[in-house]
């Protein structure tokens, strides 16, 4: 798991590689100021941090499937004495682990 400092180094390299960057104001295309570039590094590092630390939450929500589909799995598990739903949930948790 990368630290915020390590992600900031990564973000700095990416912003350096992306230069020149532009902003559009009053339909003028202006190159970023030094302050804009510094903010872009901070924003990108924070975004990477959020994805690393909390990205699993949305990834799990999407992978679990709808509640209706999960209820259908549970119903069929009861009828057939299977563990499809439990296995599915375990697989999703394993595929998208919570950072330690």
């Amino acid at each position: 798991m990368a630290t915020l400092e390590e992600l900031t180094v990564e973000a700095t390299a990416e912003i350096e590689a992306a230069k020149p960057m532009y902003k559009q104001v009053n339909n003028d295309r202006l190159e970023f100021t030094d302050a804009d570039y510094a903010q872009a590094v901070t924003d990108l590092a924070n975004s990477k941090w959020d994805t690393q630390q909390f990205g699993y939450i949305q990834a799990r929500q999407e992978a679990y499937g709808s509640i209706g589909d999960q209820l259908d799995m549970q119903y069929k598990d009861i009828l057939n004495d299977t563990t499809t739903w439990k296995d599915h949930i375990a697989q999703v948790k394993s595929d998208h682990p919570k950072p330690e």
């Binding site: 992306a18 902003k23 559009q24 339909n27 499937g65």
Partner: protein
Amino acid sequence: MQGSLIKIDEEIVTSAVASISLLGIDSTYDVYMVKLNNFSSVTTGATPRVRVTKSSSADTTANYNYAAKQLRTDTTFGNNSNTNQTSWDILNALSSATGNIANGILYLFNFNNATEYSFVTMEITQRSNEGLHRGKQGGAVHTVASASDGIEFSMSSGNIASGTFTLYGLKK
């Protein structure tokens, strides 16, 4: 009533830029409206970032709260909310693939009021970076009691590929 929507600023992105600012909010109107049309991202999976501007510069302090319902065609609707962020995350991830664009309307309240927080309501329809149709409806607040004179759009990474961003005032 005819002439009730007054265009104040419009930014048409035809060449990729990292951010766009819609400026010109003052005491002329109480409520402003932003129209997002065909908003797309250069980077697949990048999420639009929205900030208020103070004296034409984006406010990057951690005072952005939002809560929204995420409408989805592929699974159960979700909830998105957060507090004390450095921007509003009020759209879903985008990409530059054909059709993966966002369209929507934001209403801006109290932006010019120096003694109240700046509030936003939003209604977005889009095809996400996975090519799924999604929508978002909800609200956001910037918890700083000072006047905001505009709104800035950028991406969590990479550039805005295209889009027409228009700011209107709602005639009193």
